[in-house]
């Protein structure tokens, strides 16, 4: 197609900017010698003439080629560096071709058993990040409303002084640390350690607002909160139900396995308010009203129970509380389900039948389930469905919960969580002591860093609520001081709801520190809100450092460093170390870790993780083993992920956690969780005994004969500790050395790994015991999942029937409203009759700054838009491509393009959540740091989203709120 001369006004501007960025003269002159390779490239590649030429063209071929480092392979040797895509949790391997330190080419890794060389738009374009024209290039400081370049020294000194001041004045809890799900495992882990040494639990990361409800709900059901099987294992499924997941756009490479399964006869079912690209590949599609997932699942389960399709033996042996669920389910007669969801009896019967007749059947969910005020209950309803069908712990079955960011799984497992130390140890004194021992620091010293022991064991504020931590009245919050400073370390503000209030919160802060390769969304909002007190530090991407990353299927992969950090950026762990120096605890931070040129060794960090994370089996994945896997990808079977022969023989790819015991124990990793058909040393297992041995007189341990294959104990048993070992007479299987360390410990705290070794290797038992999964989670607000209408609903009749929770006073240190908000807004549907939901586009990721700065991706999605059904559009006089105002009850209004499409129903609007850079009709370009603004900007849906948080994890409600759309 011919290029449009000026397809839109913004286009012209963009062209100019792009070409300017290519010429590179504006900033290359300022660049220090550290990045001379790049400067050299710029200077040698692009002369004046080419620059002049470029000013006319969007990208001139020649010019761009030079700027990127042209690729023909000359005499210089080309190195191949193996890394992993940073854009989603599938874990697609990438071979980077590097010549003279420049990333010149990207090759598919056909050997990878996870992606077989396949990539989506994002994965196919990661090389651009290794050039990153629109990245933040130097530290910057907001002075008088404009960002000014400063040196690293100045930045660190000023930031260090200010933060210490705040700490002195208001206590360590006055600083809020937002980590990242794009940090690698080691960085995530170091950050939790770093924040602990700073003295607060006020830290969090994306997982809070992406899968926290999953983790809490699923872990409380059967033990671990992770995806039970793998993308690969879905090839063994006979039926797959996608609900609240749009894998085709969010995890495109997962569809390689899914469509392969489909061709082998698997039935694909999609339930979604939106007819997604995934739905287009489905055999059955059912549209339902957003937020009514529980009635949907109960509607399906109704038919399962009614027709006796449940797996009765499985339930007897391995599930607790199913009869209570049954009671609730049978209340959901088809007419009630239809009233709530809009799905007919026939449709749900068909799904139930398909799932029942095509076992093992798998289930997939993502943010469509999790981001609700009752997200924890929704995900448990899913778990219950799978338990009823007997699909958990089976190859081809499972709850396949696709994670979003590339390392959101790892960061959740061992990263900055406000209620837990790495490995889900929690923050009780015992957990602190365990980790203090691993870190080689004194427990008392850590305690001194905190305001008090009470604050040390009190879960911190969640990232979804930091704005309230700033704005809420001090007497209402459950800590001494309000938040005075916030550190945005690899997180996008536009991912969080209530954008309007966030702007107010930013205004009220004393200090905002942003550490990111692309800090621009936060930077621009901050510059709009205030005149000073904002610092930006350029972080390196994961292609500029090494470390391990955990894919959604729990496999760990080791990334090699592709290129040196670009511009003046530094890897996150270097920045962590430099800040720790300012705060005076760098020695404690790196006691077991070698530091070279301020860079803590990532290998040593992983070894430290190996020494502490017994709970979830992050102990077997030594850097050496991971590197061996990366080199021998071709030896792994695609369906089973198991190596056939070769140096990794018998191991599962990436040693999917739990990979128990020490690396020397050679546990192969666990491809599918709770799989009793395999020996524990072959990756088998069973449900975890984490909730005691009995509840109200009912035995919680698994039934006889339902233990993992070859276990010495062929019945339910509790988790292992020194007492149990002694009782069983297995204590002497420990070596003398192990005995010393294991005395008085359980399998999670035994630093020798001996208890685990004896239980697993000698006796084939699972160290975490063998219990039943809980269909009824008694410690949650709704033990059996119950439908509750969202706080903002267009259906007042449903609000009456299915009201939400009561308000909570102190919940993650914050008062949290439910009923009062819902009641106040009961009739909100009159003014805002459309349901607003949000989701992903394949071209962008998360808040989108990084991907919207990548021209190869940005060209494909140039404007924020709202999808609206033709019926709804016609009623409003809106035509396709019209500018519209999208209004919500917060008073916010977004100016976006209308995309009139049948994808959404007539009661629903959909907006992608990746955009930022426009603020209620205003382009924020002027607020961005110069040269570090994304190529494409648009309205962030979360500027307009409403209040609402999950009743267990504080997950934000983004998927069901209300709006009105009018022509602009």
């Amino acid at each position: 197609m011919l290029i449009k001369k000026s397809s839109a006004d913004s286009n012209t501007a963009r062209r100019g900017r792009l070409s300017r960025s290519i010429q590179g003269t504006s900033y290359s002159a300022q660049l220090p010698e550290a990045i001379d390779r790049r400067t050299f490239l710029k200077r040698s590649g692009v002369g004046i003439g080419a620059g002049a030429f470029a000013s006319q063209l969007p990208f001139s071929m020649i010019d761009k080629a030079e700027a990127m480092g042209s690729k023909p392979k000359g005499s210089d040797a080309v190195e191949i560096k193996r890394t992993v895509c940073t854009h989603c949790s599938v874990g697609c391997a990438i071979d980077a071709e590097v010549q003279n330190g420049v990333w010149i080419g990207q090759e598919p890794v056909f050997d990878s058993p996870l992606n077989l060389g396949a990539h989506c738009a994002k994965g196919a374009s990661v090389r651009e990040h290794g050039h990153g024209e629109m990245r933040l290039k130097t530290p910057m400081k907001l002075v008088d409303g404009k960002y000014q370049k400063i040196s690293w020294d100045q930045a660190l000194t000023e930031i260090g002084t200010k933060l210490l001041d705040i700490r002195k004045k208001s206590g360590p809890d006055a600083v809020y640390w937002i980590g990242s799900s794009k940090h690698n495992n080691e960085q995530s882990y170091l950050l939790r350690k770093f924040v602990s040494f700073w003295g607060t639990n006020n830290c969090d990361h994306q997982a809070r607002i992406c899968h926290s409800t999953t983790v809490a709900g699923v872990a409380n059901t059967w033990g671990y909160g992770a995806m039970t099987n793998s993308y690969n294992d879905m090839q063994n499924a006979k039926a797959i139900l996608f609900m609240g997941s749009n894998a085709a756009e969010a995890h495109p490479v997962a569809m390689l396995h899914v469509l392969h399964a489909k061709e082998n006869g698997a039935k694909i079912i999609v339930c979604d308010p939106r007819f997604t690209r995934t739905a287009a590949k489905a055999d059955q599609y059912v549209r339902f009203r957003s937020g009514t997932d529980i009635p949907m699942i109960w509607g399906i389960l109704y038919h399962v129970f009614k027709n006796g399709w449940e797996d009765k033996k499985y339930i007897d042996d391995r599930v607790y509380g199913m009869e209570k669920v049954r009671e609730e389910v049978m209340k959901w007669t088809p007419d009630k389900v239809l009233e709530a969801t809009g799905a007919t009896e026939e449709q749900l019967f068909q799904i139930a039948k398909t799932m029942a007749e095509n076992r093992p059947s798998s289930i997939v969910w993502c943010m469509g389930q999790t981001q609700h005020t009752i997200g924890n209950a929704m995900v448990r309803a899913f778990c219950v469905l799978q338990l009823a069908l007997g699909n958990i712990g089976k190859s081809g079955g499972g709850a396949n919960i696709f994670r979003g960011h590339d390392n959101v799984q790892g960061a959740t497992d061992i990263g900055p969580n406000p209620d837990s130390l790495p490995g889900y140890y929690g923050i009780v004194p015992g957990a602190w002591k365990h980790w203090a021992a691993v870190w080689g620091v004194d427990y008392e010293w850590i305690k001194k860093q905190y305001a008090s022991e009470a604050m040390m064991t009190k879960p911190g504020i969640t990232v979804s609520r930091w704005i309230d931590g700033v704005l809420e009245k001090n007497e209402n919050i459950d800590q001494d001081s309000n938040l005075k400073a916030v550190v945005y370390w690899g997180m996008a503000p536009n991912s969080q709801t209530r954008g309007k209030e966030m702007l107010e919160a930013m205004k009220a802060l004393e200090l905002l520190l942003v550490i990111d390769p692309y800090p621009s969304a936060t930077a621009a909002m901050a510059a709009k809100a205030r005149k000073d007190g904002v610092y930006l530090l350029p972080a390196a991407t994961q292609f500029e450092t090494v470390g391990s990353v955990t894919a959604s299927n729990r496999s760990l992969q080791w990334r090699e460093k592709v290129i040196e950090p670009l511009f003046e950026s530094k890897p996150d762990h270097v920045i962590m170390y430099l800040l720790a120096q300012k705060f005076g605890f760098e020695k404690e931070l790196t006691k077991n870790i070698k530091v070279t040129n301020n860079e803590p060794s990532m290998e040593d960090t992983l070894r430290e993780i190996n020494k502490g994370c017994w709970t979830i089996g992050y102990t077997g994945q030594s850097p050496e083993r991971l590197k061996l896997h990366m080199k021998n990808m071709h030896t792994f079977d695609v369906k089973t992920l198991r190596a056939k022969g070769g140096p990794c023989d018998g191991e599962y790819f990436g040693l999917p956690w739990p990979c128990y015991g020490t690396p020397e124990m050679k546990h192969p990793g666990s491809p599918n969780l709770y799989d009793t058909s395999k020996h524990v040393m072959d990756g088998g297992g069973n449900f975890r005994a984490n909730f005691g041995v009995e509840k109200d007189g009912v035995n919680l341990l698994a039934g006889d004969g339902s233990a993992s294959k070859g276990a010495d104990l062929q019945f339910g048993y509790p988790e292992f500790d020194h007492v149990l070992l002694k009782k069983l007479g297995w204590w002497d299987d420990l070596t003398e050395e192990e005995k010393k360390k294991a005395e008085g410990k359980n399998w999670k705290t035994d630093s020798s790994g001996g208890i685990i070794r004896v239980a697993m290797k000698v006796h084939g038992c699972h160290p975490f015991g063998n219990a039943k999964a809980r269909a009824s989670v008694w410690n949650f607000p709704d033990p059996v999942p119950v439908h509750r209408e969202p706080l903002y609903s267009t259906r007042p009749d449903m609000v009456d029937k299915y009201p939400t929770h009561d308000d909570k006073k102190a919940f993650w240190r914050m008062p949290t409203l439910y009923k009062s908000v819902q009641q106040k807004n009961k009739d909100v549907g009159k003014e805002f009759p459309l349901i607003l939901t949000s989701g992903r586009l394949v071209e962008y990721e998360g808040g989108g700054e990084e991907t919207r700065s990548n021209p190869w991706l940005a060209e494909l999605q140039q404007e924020a838009f709202v999808e609206i059904n033709p019926r709804a559009a016609n009623d409003r006089g809106i035509r396709n491509d019209d500018w519209v105002w999208l209004k919500t009850p917060t008073g916010a209004q977004l100016k976006v393009r209308a995309q009139v499409t049948e994808r959404v129903g007539s009661d629903t609007c959909f907006m992608p959540f990746h955009f930022s850079g426009h603020w209620m009709g205003e382009d924020m370009l002027q607020y961005y740091p110069e040269g570090a603004h994304p190529l494409v900007r648009g309205e962030a849906v979360n500027t307009a989203t409403t209040y609402g948080y999950d009743s267990v994890t504080m997950m934000q409600e983004t998927k069901t709120t209300v709006c009105q759309v009018v022509k602009a």
């Binding site: 197609m1 001369k5 397809s7 599609y285 140039q862 019926r871």
Partner: protein
């Protein structure tokens, strides 16, 4: 065999189609969706089914889908127009066009060989009349020269590949064609301006006059070699003016400009149509221009002189444009008196 003749791209389309048809057939076979769709169709605002069977038919018809790649018609998977355009342009337009040109040239040659130059029947008086002002001549030559260049470069685009390339070789030809395209684009604008000026300058003297009827009746005396009295321009010249410069000229300009600015949100169909119109009009105007050039040069004695110098001999004026001559004489006398 005749069927197989279709071009391979068509087969490529079919191939794409096969994948689609297969897919849609497959989808249609799945028992679940239709029932579901029906159920959904009962409810307001629920997705109606897309007729999967019809998908390919729509693709072939050029019905656009959606794509994230920006630009005009990027949503069109297969555009059927291209082949039509190609067949028209490389069939009738090229063939009959060149045939027509050849015929006209042959006809003129035959005519000239039979009749020779139309000479003045009386001796020149030596007294001259001003027939064209400097402005008029400038406009004429602006248009004429740009026209000739456009005709040559344009003709080269259409036929050079068959005529010139075998002679001068590939490399030189493509350089020439490239230059030609550049010149064509540039002079196209010059010509457009010139043609408009020409129309404005001469339209008054080209308005219908009763005497033209006589000229038509006698067919301009072309065959009979008889001088039909006419005003400043005879009806033949008027035809050339209105049809050649006016109608075809403007058609050429309009279609040419649209080809010159391909970025103005034009569809391929519009550009293809413009190209065909441009080519046909070009052929016709070129043929007419051959007649005009013939008569203005070796066809009629003194004609070339008139547009070169702007003056004509009284004898010439009297013979060719009697009425105009009378007018001029009257004017002179009037002035003299």
């Amino acid at each position: 065999m005749k069927q197989l003749k279709s071009n391979s791209w068509l087969w490529a389309c079919l191939l794409a189609a096969c994948a689609l048809v297969l897919a849609s057939a497959h989808a249609a076979d799945a028992p679940a969706p239709p029932a579901q769709i029906q159920a959904q169709a009962q409810k307001p605002g629920v997705t109606p089914a897309h007729n999967a069977e019809a998908t390919w038919r729509e693709v072939r018809a050029g019905t656009p889908g959606v794509t994230t790649v920006r630009g005009t018609e990027t949503g069109v998977l297969v555009s059927p127009d291209g082949n039509t355009w190609r067949q028209i342009r490389h069939g009738p337009v090229t063939f009959y066009g060149s045939l027509l040109v050849i015929l006209v040239i042959v006809a003129i040659a035959l005519f000239h060989s039979r009749k020779g130059m139309l000479r003045l029947s009386e001796k020149p008086t030596g007294r001259t009349l001003v027939r064209f002002s400097n402005w008029e001549r400038s406009v004429h030559w602006l248009v004429a020269i740009s026209f000739v260049c456009l005709a040559l470069t344009g003709g080269n685009m259409l036929l050079g590949k068959y005529v010139l390339m075998p002679v001068i070789g590939h490399t030189l030809f493509s350089w020439l064609a490239g230059m030609g395209k550049f010149i064509h684009n540039f002079l196209g604008v010059v010509f457009s301006v010139g043609a408009v000026l020409m129309l404005a300058t001469f339209y008054k003297d080209n308005i219908w006059h009763p005497s033209d009827a006589e000229w038509i009746r006698k067919a301009g005396g072309l065959v009979s070699r008889e001088h039909v009295p006419s005003r400043r321009f005879n009806f033949g010249e008027k035809i050339w003016f209105w049809l050649g410069v006016g109608l075809f000229g403007l058609v050429m300009i309009a279609s040419g400009l649209s080809l010159l600015f391909p970025n103005l949100y034009e569809t391929r169909h519009a550009m293809q149509t413009a190209e065909v119109i441009h080519s046909i009009a070009a052929t016709l105007i070129f043929c007419m221009s051959l007649g005009h050039i013939y008569l203005g040069t070796i066809g009629v004695e003194g004609a070339y002189q008139s547009i070169r110098t702007g003056s004509v001999d009284e004898t010439w004026a009297k013979e060719h444009h009697q009425l105009w001559y009378d007018e001029q004489v009257q004017k002179k006398l009037g002035k003299g008196a």
